[in-house]
């Protein structure tokens, strides 16, 4: 009796299981096929439902808090390393001899750079997401002061006399000059677009400030990125040198004599159709060699090879004897070593037209690159020991400091900073995002066009299937998980599809990601790319009077004459909070003659101030131009009834838009206060 009951029960559940399993599996298959846009992705619920959770218990369970060393400085005696741990909002004090972390000093949000005072008593750390600089007393390992800066402080330089701190405000594109004694900002210059790197000449007279984004130029014109040169004695900008056809100039280094400065850079080929990758037709990488004197030479030289590219050059340092330069190429986990004497010889013996041609010569690097040294994942900031014998490398996605002998040019050890030992799925995804290994000849990676996981400000000709002109303004990847579909034409319904087969076919021109990697990359993109706070235009959720007036215009249903604005032509209809997109396609009459007939995916507007140029082909250089130059027919909202004051108010409001998490946290703070 018992046996028969058991058989019946088992039979019942087996039949029930089969009844549920087959349709369920079929449903799951369909669901996964839709999400991934392929029909053979493994049916693994965890791929999405565990690793793409942005918050909550599961998210905490599967993710880890990493250190992500970004930049570093070495004490004069060489005994200490001071490492900026970007994701931990901390400065790590490291014993260079024993390879031990001695202290972890909390600083502001997303620290970027560290610089030490000449007497070694203080460290200054720029906090890019806090708009300030932490002043640290190194004897007590305590933050003793906080200096206010412009928006997005990144690179730092101290004047030769130590009286002034130059802070490069990367988001507001300024140079803040801070009196170290008083802590007051003495003046603020405009720099190039998205500046970050800075270097003071050995004689203390000239300060270089490198920019990452190109100045905005109409599509078809060669991009140009500003190198800003400051006379430190007068605290005046003496030159704004445009570096043609190059951008993402992250950092600079002077030779010990100061006659040359070397700057990392990328040369994008955004003006040619993206139909070929081979031979550098998408991106090439190199250095800008400049004579810093007024109207001095500017030469661009590649660090690539004909069949190998050294993507995403970030930092550069030069040995005290002026013989070697080291360049970290974050996209290929490599340090390239430059023989500076060879570089000088090449420049001296080449005619001007030859030097100009070298900027596209993939073979020329053999004349001055003497070694490639592998590192851990994502090498970023570099620092030399005082005697120049050791090179320290901040391996951002390894949570380690790599050590390289500058004499025999071999790895000489590693310092484990003590980050989580587990590499999570999202962390692996970030490594993939930042690594060019999945692109033909390692020519580029996701980070190349999406620096800081944002966008590079360029318009590319993503040749359409008919090889026509298909101009595409690069879009930000910040917090895009909840804003499908993707691409301007909205053809990709999920991040999986966006980064899957299409990605390899159209861009990387090599095998697509395997599903494990694709899962990881997707997990990272969906969960790991938060927006910076909008400290410049909306630091605390309290809108200015102008922004409030602009908000009313944004949400209005009647024009200035009292006429009803059709619902589908109101700002708020398509740009719905919290991401300011209704996730639908829209017609705004901005199609160019060369565009395929299509609707546009309504873009999200959070932190929109940080994404010029605007519209799908980047034709609008500023937010104002969307309507003053390209909104004459009132198809992209009704604007022609507005006064200039009202347009200013609207633009002020748009600039105030920020990510939902900041809105929520400010609301919560207000409630808590009540």
């Amino acid at each position: 009796m018992k046996t028969s009951r058991i058989i019946i029960v088992i039979g019942f559940f087996s039949i029930l299981g089969l009844v549920v399993f087959f349709p369920g599996r079929k449903w799951a298959r369909g669901h996964v096929n839709y999400m991934t846009a392929v029909d053979d992705h493994p049916l693994n619920c965890f791929s999405c439902h565990a690793y793409t959770q942005k918050s909550g218990f599961i998210s905490k369970l599967v993710n880890r808090k990493y250190l992500s060393p970004f930049n570093l400085a070495v004490s004069k005696d060489g005994n200490r390393l001071y490492v900026v741990a970007q994701e931990s909002d901390a400065l790590l004090v490291v014993d260079a001899a024993n390879h031990k972390v001695l202290n972890k000093i909390g600083v502001g949000r997303l620290p970027h750079s560290v610089v030490l005072s000449a007497d070694g008593q203080k460290a200054y750390v720029s906090n890019e997401w806090a708009d300030n600089v932490s002043v640290i007393d190194l004897a007590s390992s305590k933050v003793v002061d906080t200096l206010n800066t412009g928006n997005g402080p990144a690179g730092l330089s101290l004047s030769a006399d130590g009286k002034f701190l130059y802070v490069i405000d990367s988001y507001s594109s300024n140079i803040s000059v801070i009196d170290v004694n008083t802590g007051e900002e003495r003046k603020r210059f405009d720099a190039g677009n998205n500046p970050t790197g800075t270097e003071l000449s050995p004689d203390g007279k000239t300060l270089l400030v490198t920019s990452r984004r190109s100045l905005i130029v109409p599509y078809g014109e060669s991009i140009k990125t500003e190198l800003t040169i400051v006379d430190e004695s007068t605290q005046r900008i003496t030159e704004r040198r445009n570096i043609e056809s190059a951008y993402l100039m992250e950092n600079a280094a002077f030779t010990p004599t100061g006659d040359l400065a070397l700057i990392t850079m990328i040369r994008p080929k955004n003006l040619v159709p993206s139909i070929q990758v081979e031979q550098g037709w998408m991106m090439t990488y190199g250095i800008v060699v400049i004579e810093p004197k007024q109207n001095g030479k500017t030469i661009q030289l590649l660090i690539d090879e004909p069949n190998a590219f050294y993507s995403d050059p970030f930092d550069i340092v030069i040995t005290p004897d002026g013989k070697k330069a080291f360049i970290s190429s974050s996209g290929v986990n490599t340090i390239s070593v430059v023989n500076i004497d060879s570089l000088r010889t090449l420049i001296a013996k080449s005619r001007a037209e030859q030097l100009a041609n070298y900027s596209n010569n993939l073979g020329i690097s053999s004349r001055y690159i003497i070694k490639r040294i592998k590192t851990g994942a994502d090498p970023k900031g570099l620092a030399l020991s005082t005697d120049g014998k050791l090179l320290y490398v901040a391996e951002q996605l390894e949570d380690k400091i790599g050590i390289i002998s500058t004499e025999n040019l071999e790895p000489a050890g590693t310092i484990d900073l003590g980050g989580p030992s587990t590499i999570t799925v999202a962390r692996r995804g970030r490594r993939l995002f930042n690594n060019s290994g999945h692109t033909f000849q390692t020519q580029f990676d996701c980070y190349t066009c999406h620096p800081d996981m944002h966008e590079d400000g360029l318009v590319y000709n993503m040749a359409s299937k008919d090889m026509g002109r298909n101009l595409t303004n690069t879009q930000s990847l910040r917090d895009i998980g909840d804003t499908p579909p993707y691409k301007w034409n909205g053809k990709n319904q999920t991040v999986y599809k966006q980064d899957g087969m299409r990605f390899s076919t159209v861009l990387t021109r090599t095998e697509q990601f395997n599903y494990k990697d694709l899962d990881a990359l997707t997990a990272y993109i969906i969960t790991g790319i938060p927006y910076p706070p909008n400290l410049q235009y909306n630091p605390n959720g309290e809108l200015t009077e102008s922004q409030l007036r602009g908000k009313a215009i944004f949400e209005r249903s009647k024009d200035s004459y009292g006429n009803i604005i059709p619902e589908n032509n109101r700002c708020i209809t398509c740009h719905t909070p919290p991401y300011y997109t209704n996730l639908k396609m829209a017609y705004v009459k901005t199609l160019a003659v060369s565009d395929d007939s299509m609707l546009f995916d309504t873009p999200h507007l959070n932190n929109i101030y940080a994404s010029p140029p605007y519209l799908h082909d980047g034709r609008a250089a500023t937010l104002e131009e969307i309507w003053t130059k390209y909104g004459k027919e009132d198809k992209h909202g009704v604007v022609n009834d507005m006064t200039k004051n009202q347009l200013n108010d609207l633009v002020d409001y748009l600039k105030s838009l920020r990510a939902p998490q900041y809105e929520y946290s400010d609301l919560k703070n207000k409630k808590d206060k009540k």
């Binding site: 412009g150 507001s172 300024n174 003046k187 603020r188 210059f189 405009d190 500003e226 800003t228 040169i229 005046r236 900008i237 003496t238 030159e239 704004r240 445009n242 410049q536 235009y537 102008s546 250089a621 500023t622 104002e624 131009e625 003053t628 130059k629 006064t643 200039k644 004051n645 200013n648 633009v651 002020d652």
Partner: protein, 385 residues
Amino acid sequence: MRNILRKNLQTSITMILCGICSVLVINSQPSAGKRTAEVKSKDNTNAIPVYGHWKNFTTKDGLPNNHAYCVRIDGKRVLVGTHEGMAVYEDGKWTNYTTKDGLAHNGVVSIDVSELTGDVWIGTLGGLTRWSAGKFETFNQLNSGLPNDLVYCVYCDGKDIWTATGGGAGHYDTYSKQWEIFTEKNAPMHEPWTYGVSAGDGKVYIAAWGGGIIEYTYKTKQFKDYTDPDGEMEIDLLPDDGPVHDITTGTAYADGMLWVSSYFGFCSYDGTHWKGYFDHDSGLASNFINFVRAKGPVVFICSDKGLSSTNGKSWVTYKKNDNNSDGLTIIKNYARNDDSTVVHTTKEIPSSPSIAHNFIIGVDADDNYLWVATEGGVSRGELLK
């Protein structure tokens, strides 16, 4: 455009004044004693710089055009705005810049230099241009929050850049990169047309067409307007009761004194008292005043009939003869006698050559030189020791 407007206005106003008010004005003209009652000096030595040894520059010397609208001294160089671009005088040579180099428009009507950054801000008839370390960048009403492309005046006040435009006054904060527009909608203006702007001691003074002077206080973000209390458009009925006219063309602030120009006279304000000056009761060359610039205690007044300068007591006017290139430097000193009557002494010094033209729109001075932008070129005078 500004010239045409002014000339038309000048003609009509002159006719009105001549036809309606001349008798009244002449008959009611107060004596010098009445109009200069505050003058205390007895020794006739009210220090005011006098310039001479004029050197005139025209297209023959390298200017792009002889219609010079503005001039600004920037250290060792001099920047001149003309009808056909900006000219820079440095090391004895002129270098010209136009829209081909990046200027917003070739009609350059105002130039100022930021003491903070050294950037040159250029007001043109087609937008505002920043010239920084050799690079031009343009702000216009289409690509930025600039109120209007007719930028009659630009003024750098630390990190703040102020513009007086045909569509209101604009304020650009170079730190926050945000614009504000002030018009009759949000400020006590009669209409959005503004001609001049200056600042000092935490306040901004906007010369608003028909609205007198609009004072903006940074700290409170509040406005206050100063208009002609007598309300008369043709004459200044009650002396020293306020601004001489509601149609103002420029303001200048220095040493705690606000100077205001109009097409109907000139006035000053020390924070308590207003004082009016006219061509019939002071050393003023003409009541039709285009521009004003203050340097310490001295103010330079650009009119249609020559250049005047004053410290409120002494006057120096530079005029060119109509029929040749020579002219006069007219010095008037006001003093009070023991019986409290005020007398003035006049001294005329011939100059050969004189300033290039009597229609003057711009002026700037440093320790050694006075530069004047005229309808007939640019003039440079040396400080006479």
